[in-house]
Symmetry: C2
Subunit: 437 residues, 2 copies
């Protein structure tokens, strides 16, 4: 390090790679690149592997193809493939060209899988064993491998047959505990749970959550073992995937973050706001149908947003429970009807409980029992509409093979606004016509 090295470089060197990545993300692009160039390759590589996708293109600009190749060699292949995904095709080819052939081939294989599939998350740096190998032979093999390459934290080893198909699993613990002369075939567990390369993030998260393993093997379409996903990598995926729904629900991209530049945010958000606007005009059109009624009875304008808003809120409760249960895999195909019955029951009871209060307030505030009856009645009906749509919208989106969360709150409030306005103003019009004011 030269004399001009800033004092704080030593501080950075002491940090865990994940913490270093955090710091890099908080610096200006120029400062971050300058810092990266000063770091030893191993440290820079580890920090880049932990960096959020969005900042990667900026940071990689600090390096030429040879430096990039060195960085790629120092991190796990899954992380290296992620970095490569953020380079232009030209630079990617260049960097791969500077890598030893075997490593480059491995990375090219990983790049073929979508980033959000098991194939995209898995590491292909795995050790596959044969059934006839003994505990002692495996220990020896691991010792050799440990010297020739950086291996990852592993908890299990996988056993394959001659066609490279996965046949069983041996825990690293067994290698410590079992006697040296036992063969893999004797100690392996054949009931091995696995992922397919094409499994998406949701499936991946679900299998990890369901089975509680520290790692799951990944097989290709022919059942050949091609990689492994560790629970600690799945955790990342699971948290992002699970929380994505809350953004999709309100018409946001699952990828948006507080740090996303506003130019990108507006491109993601504005289209859904326009969709919402169109549905709002649909609801406004319903109000327009009853303009004469409102002109006769302006107190209706006060209660209009209450009936619609309360329906929207109760509907959001139902919608959110259903979407979360779908995401966590707690609703099976047959459960839709049961959920609908429960939510309709709740809608009726909530509707009566709220409708009664709204009706009494309407009567007391404006001195009109008719207003109370109309507001209370519309509230009950709209709570039923809210409950039904809260269940049916996500299940409907799912049956269309869309994400059940996709813009669902926008669709839901369309229903509760249109239905709320229609029930309330419709009842009011009937009341005016039949009973006068």
């Amino acid at each position: 390090m030269s004399q001009s090295t800033p004092v704080f470089l030593e501080e950075y060197l002491k940090l865990h790679a994940a913490d270093l990545a955090d710091r890099l993300q908080r610096l200006d692009a120029d400062e971050a690149r300058a810092l990266l160039r000063q770091l030893p390759t191993e440290k820079a590589a580890a920090a880049l592997a932990e960096t959020e996708d969005e900042r990667i293109p900026d940071l990689l600009a600090a390096f030429d193809a040879v430096q990039l190749a060195k960085i790629l060699e120092h991190i796990a292949p899954a992380d290296a493939a992620d970095l490569l995904q953020h380079l232009s095709p030209g630079r990617r080819r260049e960097a791969l060209g500077k890598l030893p052939g075997e490593i480059a081939d491995g990375l090219r294989a990983l790049l073929r899988y979508p980033e959000d599939s098991a194939g995209g998350v898995m590491s292909n740096r795995l050790i596959a064993l044969r059934e006839e190998m003994t505990v002692e032979e495996v220990r020896e093999l691991l010792r050799e491998r440990a010297q020739e390459e950086r291996t990852e934290d592993i908890a299990y080893l996988y056993v394959t047959n001659q066609e490279q198909r996965l046949v069983g699993i041996v825990s690293l613990r067994d290698l410590v505990f079992r006697r040296a002369e036992r063969s893999m075939g004797e100690i392996l567990n054949r009931d091995v749970k696995f992922l397919r390369v094409t499994d998406d993030q949701e499936e991946l998260a679900r299998k990890f959550e369901h089975y509680h393993y520290l790692g799951l093997p990944v097989v290709d379409v022919d059942g050949r073992l091609v990689g492994v996903v560790r629970a600690s990598d799945a955790l990342d995926v699971a948290r992002k995937e699970a929380t994505e729904d809350m953004q999709l629900m309100v018409g946001l991209s699952g990828e948006e973050r507080a740090q996303t530049p506003w130019q990108q945010s507006i491109r993601w958000r504005l289209p859904w706001l326009y969709v919402n606007l169109a549905t709002a005009f649909l609801a406004a059109f319903v109000v327009g149908l009853f303009e004469d009624t409102i002109a006769h009875w302006t107190a209706l304008a006060i209660f209009l947003p209450i009936v619609a808003g309360q329906g929207g809120n109760a509907g959001m409760q139902t919608l959110t429970v259903i979407i979360r249960d779908l995401a966590l895999g707690e609703i099976a195909p047959g459960d839709g009807r049961r959920a609908l019955v429960k939510e309709i029951t709740l809608g009726l009871l909530n509707g009566l409980a709220i409708g009664l209060v709204v009706g009494l307030i309407g009567w007391w505030w404006k001195g009109s029992m008719m207003l109370g009856l109309v507001a209370g009645g519309a509230m009950v009906l709209n709570q039923l509409a809210a409950a039904a749509s809260g269940v049916l919208i996500p299940l409907g989106l799912k049956s269309l093979r869309l994400d059940p969360a996709l813009a669902s709150s926008i669709f839901l409030t369309t229903v509760t606004d249109v239905a709320g306005f229609f029930f309330f103003l419709g009842l009011a019009t009937m009341g005016l016509k039949w009973f006068g004011m």
Copy 2:
């Protein structure tokens, strides 16, 4: 098994414990208990460990204290403590009394920690090593332990000093790879990340996501090693914890599921619906202030819900991004101001883009330029209010040490309704007064 054993029992026996638990949860309470009694203790215990909390009290009713004690012995202590938490204090004491003293003491220690803390999630069945032990001695120790008790999948071993304080970590891999005569002191890594027993689920999930380890040790207030959390257990916690926010946002309990009985659901949901109703009347009161204006100009009633609803929608987008980033730990303390500036910018631009369209439609539909100006202007102002409250509500809740998601959508729509109605009807009243219609 007796002759009357149903045919399908054999099918159940072949299932993975997690899949068996799924089946149990889909049976009637009576059928489930009958099935549990027929299963071998080990299988029943494994299935109960995987069962959702809600069904546990029902299922445990199948067993007497002696049977319960046997079940508790067959599962990981953390799972056993979870089961015990669902028994009445009397039955709990009875079951603990039937267990060997050492195991009962371990469980009593675990029961002292809240279920949603690192202490509540951790396993206390861990192997702590001393620095002076050699690789060979540790291998021997593990072999002995493997025979006397069920050990869990482990990836790391922890090294403690004489005061039982955590001093370093050794990976299981090292035990396979390193030479037999090396001591733990020579091969351990002193830079060990850890959890504190009091860390809550959110902190736990964040540390796992940040550092990507397969396991983290847990220390008590004095720095003594008391347990270990595996990444695969953290994954469960992380998914539930991360998605809890989407329910809290809309005024739901984080624990509600589609399967929750309606009697419980209504007790959780109705109070927040009443809070929402109170805030809706606050907004209605604002509308009531301008009843004369509406009586003069009923077209306002049509645009009223559009201005408010569009503000609510845009505000929900901001709110959701902020809450998700807070949950995933991607917003640091200093980032609040930056997020506010970004969202206000977006609010202004979205407001102009939507306000223009609303204004033009208002002008064209009702032939009144004034209506267009009022609607468009109110839309811009309300988008700014939405953006500001979308950032400030979660940060405000956080600074009050509440969950940033808690009922935040109810608070947000209160702001966007009140502000939207006030801006729109206020501008309309000014327009009527100064320019006529």
